[in-house]
Amino acid sequence: MAMKVSLTINGESYAIDCRAGETLLEVLRRLGFKSVKRGCDTGNCGACTILLDNRPVASCIMLAAQAEGYNITTLEGLSASGEISHLQEAFINNGAPQCGFCTPGMLLVAKALLDTKPRPSRQDIRQALAGNICRCSGYVKIVDAIADASKKVEK
């Protein structure tokens, strides 16, 4: 059945016609937020990570209707001004993106982590990334990039 859902995405309001069964992932991609990737579709891989009120969640096992009332952030929201964030820069400088498919999710988890804990240990970083899988399996550079970015977080 068609329904109306109001979503706040990267600070902007959207009134959307959607179906009760549409996932948040599907609606975000339909709206053009293509940084949100469809991976496993079961909540295991983290490619579809977005932030809900600054907390990372898997948008593939969440319905769009569930997201009403929350502030949604996608990777596009990190560079809304047209310039990439220092976190993204740290990923580039450390060669962390590799094939790039998991990168949007990794970046959003890293952002949420650094927002709550500006000086995380490597163990904190690994724990925060536990729900995000990189099939290039190069976690070292990803952890390096986040550790690097944490040194530049303004307090």
Partner: protein, 279 residues
Amino acid sequence: MKHFRQYIVPTSQEDAVSIRRAVGARGLFIAGGTTVVPRAARTVDVLIDVTHLGLNGIEFQESWVKMGATTRLADLLTPEIQASFPVLYEAVSQCATPLIRNMATLGGSLATVFLPSDVAVALLALDAQVEVLTEAGVQRLALGDLLRSGWLNPNWLLRSLSVKKQKPTRRSAFLKFGRTSVDIALVNVGASFNLDESGRVDLRIAIGQTSSLPTLEEFNGIGESDLTQSSIDRIASEVSKRLQGKSDFRASGEYRKHLSKVLVARALARMAGVDGYEG
């Protein structure tokens, strides 16, 4: 696109219960949705959102700690919960991934006891009570009794879980065995014991994944001095022998019984402060 046709956001707890009753088995409550969205049966087409009904948050009362049913698992990972209920803290921190814990709720984790539920095993060990809203009003039930009667009725709205505040002499532990934390546990064990003034121990051990519902074993009035390596081994063997030992594609019943024995022994040793089990 999932198969659901209608998403209802009720404005009161009573409405939620009457909508569920009206639609019957076509309807399901949805909280975090982490089980409902990927796994609900094709026959379910109405979802009833329970996350806007004032059932969120943790309250430290005089002698109970009351946790709202829609409290997210991530919000249970606090220093207070860690200090008061190690078994619950450990179960939640080993349950799924950070992404899932930010969505999944306490109530959703308990209602899914038929699936592997780390949180339900921990709450059984803690002798938790649930408050549910039924058509007949609010009821408070012990989880142990629910287990004996076949668990929650799908028409009931879970409102909260309460655990008695622990004396400093109460200890608890949670252990699970699986390939990784995201993988479903082959066996999970929650245990807690309470030491009274006369040095007697009341012990509760909950074991998940060895039959369709968790198993709960209670031992009352063992002497504390009995919790030596040899008596721990004896209790663990006894418990393991009594288990049904469910076999499925993940593990055989025999293997699960063996794992249960090892995990129960480790949990008891950890609580009693006996070394030599974690190897």
